[in-house]
Symmetry: C2
Subunit: 138 residues, 2 copies
């Protein structure tokens, strides 16, 4: 499904910024930060526009946000696009890569009595295979 289809299906106007974001994320197999996305877009867009585009796309669940420690924000395609709604994310402490582990479920622990569950967010931190094979000493 093309960015065009995705946008029209959600009754959003097809603008260069939105299309660019979606296409960039489709190409990438990992989650990307605002800067990473920005640098891959053909045209320059104001930061305000990017903020608003991310917000709109997130509300439609076309993308989803991954926050690592309040420091790093990355985006990936959302569950409006065949992605599993809830999945863990992996964060590599060496290269800062963020990846959706979307073939896995999140195990929800038992909650205190009377508590109701609605959603879960799980971030696994570690070292990805690329970084591991380079044998850094840290």
């Amino acid at each position: 499904m093309s960015a065009f289809d995705i946008l029209s299906r959600h009754k959003l106007k097809r603008t260069a910024c939105r299309e660019g974001i979606i296409n960039t994320l489709i190409d990438a197999s990992i989650a990307l930060s605002e800067d990473e996305i920005k640098s891959k877009l053909a045209a320059h867009f104001d930061r305000t526009t990017l903020y608003r585009s991310f917000k709109t796309l997130e509300e439609k669940r076309i993308i989803h946000k991954v926050v690592v420690d309040n420091l790093m924000i990355k985006y990936a395609l959302g569950d409006a696009l065949s992605k599993k709604a809830e999945h863990p994310h992996f964060y590599c402490k060496r290269c800062e890569m963020v990846q959706c582990l979307d073939s896995t479920d999140i195990e929800v622990p038992r909650l205190p009595h009377g508590y109701a569950f609605s959603e879960a967010e799980l971030i696994i931190k570690g070292v990805c295979v690329n970084c591991k094979s380079t044998h850094y000493n840290e």
Copy 2:
């Protein structure tokens, strides 16, 4: 163990701000935001001082930070103080309460081949027992 003991054990100077933060968190059974902690402290402290105190206490693992969606930051006592190192957190979507689920473990999913695990963060969102019993319609 008193705030005094905790600080001296970690070779930190015993200052009113640090003691106040630790005592506030010992009294509270839940995680508290900067504002919530500030309002419970006897004296007024500059925001810079609070930032620096949180940072220092976090580095010594006397407290730990819980970040909900990049929007809300709360603090709770850390694993230098008998708390389990890794535990899930519960976030109530009605009252915004954050609580450590420190009698529970985090189930780590299987990672892609060659990936190394180091830490995990799990936030469960839902409705706490207090809010649930008030039968809001949302």
